[in-house]
């Protein structure tokens, strides 16, 4: 039963590619998987600046921002995204990152506020489940 039938509002996700890295195979698989799970997916396209991504996230009032980073520039880009989120008043939204990152970076990024980091081999179904869980938990927290 789709979320709409189940009486829940669909989850809205911004799927973003930041920086100059042009790998979008994974991000497209994720977008499809999220759509097939009943979510509304807004894809930013490639080569976006952090400002463009957060500006879009604000207007679309998404439940989660998913960023795919395969270039290794995550320690520059993810903190910048978090900073912009706070500046623009959406610091409470979920930022989820996907890609190839060293463990110590993952630890540091999560401490900074990235909600979850999903490795490159994560099956699509797991990504969907993770997004659902994180979003619904956050919604429950707000309602309560």
């Amino acid at each position: 039963m789709s979320p709409v039938e189940a009486g829940q509002d669909p989850i809205r996700v911004l799927v973003a590619k930041v920086g100059l890295d042009g790998h979008d195979r994974g991000v497209k698989v994720v977008a499809r998987a999220l759509r097939d799970a009943g979510m509304e997916v807004i894809y930013t396209g490639l080569h976006r600046t952090p400002e463009q991504v957060i500006g879009s996230a604000v207007q679309e009032d998404v439940d989660a921002i998913g960023v795919s980073l395969l270039s290794g520039a995550h320690m520059t880009l993810l903190p910048r995204l978090l900073e912009l989120m706070r500046e623009q008043g959406i610091g409470d939204k979920l930022l989820i990152a996907g890609g190839v990152m060293p463990d110590e970076d993952v630890v540091e990024l999560k401490a900074m506020g990235v909600a979850e980091i999903l490795g490159q081999d994560t099956p699509p179904a797991t990504i969907v489940a993770t997004v659902e869980r994180l979003v619904r938990d956050r919604q429950a927290l707000r309602a309560g």
Binding site: E40, E60, G89
Partner: protein, 325 residues
């Protein structure tokens, strides 16, 4: 920029002040099931009515999004602030959607006077859903001079857009099936402006000519919908489109047609909202509600469907408060 609390009253105020966060959250509220935005929407509706609403529709592949972006840019150049609502279909199987119009409008992303919102139809029938019209009202109240609405363009939605916009642009492109014949019944007459996009393609001149001929045949008096060739990607013909829309708007005002148009819009708003309320109560009835009681009665055959439905409607319309069943 004011920060916004989650409290309902604060949201409307934020929208009226033009706060981007408030606008975004208000649109989310009107989209959500539950339909509990009455207080805010009352305030916003009273403050609105200034924005020009322009609907853009047409078959898939005509380049609507690119055209909307180009047209938006042109309005910006003319000093107007802009709201854009881009609607994409929800998959009937999964309930999900990929909303792919924003990405075609990157040229407007960095402009603080432009607010772009992507919306999915969420199973609602009709290209201009109740939620879409509410989103337009929010942008209106936020002070946008022009609101462009890009709809899905399938089924009878294209015709519906006339009931929600002051001006309607119908976009086609050469090589999309039978060209002019592909425009569904009613769409030809619906348009206030016809656009033949991708005008650099082969067959564009022919499409323009065919359209003009067909429109000439159904000539009435009053507004004559122009047929304009454009090339949205390069921007060619877009300033003529903006000018034509300005002319249409002027004509609506000078001829008095605007009243009829506004009446049509009001009628449609009320109709869709009423229908939405009824659907809401019927789709997710509370246990113990009059609806559920009626269902039980039907099963026991102590009443019949017609009588039961009449009675429920009476109850709804007879001045009960805005509470749930």
């Amino acid at each position: 920029m004011t920060t916004t609390t989650g409290a309902a009253a604060g949201l409307a105020r934020g929208v009226l002040a033009g706060d981007v966060l408030a606008i975004a959250r208000m649109i989310s509220r009107v989209e959500r099931r539950g339909l509990d935005a009455a207080d805010d929407m009352a305030e916003l509706y009273r403050a609105g009515g200034r924005a020009r609403v322009i609907g853009v529709t047409g078959p898939a592949g005509a380049g609507k999004s690119t055209l909307v972006a180009a047209l938006g840019g042109e309005f910006r150049r003319r000093g107007r602030t802009l709201g854009i609502v881009a609607v994409d279909p929800t998959s009937p199987y999964s309930g999900g959607s990929v909303l792919g119009d924003r990405i075609r409008m990157q040229s407007l992303w960095d402009d603080p006077e432009v607010f772009i919102r992507s919306m999915a139809t969420r199973g609602a029938l009709g290209g201009i859903t109740r939620a879409t019209a509410d989103a337009v009202a929010v942008l209106d109240a936020a002070g946008k001079d022009v609101v462009l609405v890009e709809t899905v363009g399938v089924g009878q939605d294209e015709v519906e857009i006339a009931q929600a916009a002051h001006s309607v642009v119908v976009v086609s492109a050469p090589g999309l099936g039978d060209d002019v014949q592909a425009l569904k019944a009613g769409l030809l007459e619906t348009a206030d402006v016809h656009v033949v996009n991708k005008a650099d393609r082969e067959g564009a001149d022919r499409t323009v000519a065919e359209l003009r001929a067909m429109l000439g045949m159904s000539a009435g008096d009053g507004w004559r919908a122009p047929v304009l060739p454009t090339c949205a990607e390069s921007g060619q013909g877009v300033d003529e489109l903006a000018a034509a829309l300005d002319r249409h708007h002027d004509w609506l005002l000078s001829s008095g047609e605007i009243d009829e148009r506004l009446r049509l819009i009001a009628r449609h708003r009320l109709k869709t909202l009423l229908t939405a309320f009824v659907h809401e109560r019927v789709d997710r009835p509370m246990p113990g509600s009059a609806f559920e009681t009626a269902v039980e009665a039907l099963c026991r055959r102590t009443t019949d469907p017609w009588t039961a439905a009449h009675a429920l409607l009476e109850e709804e319309l007879s001045g009960r408060s805005k509470g749930r069943p």
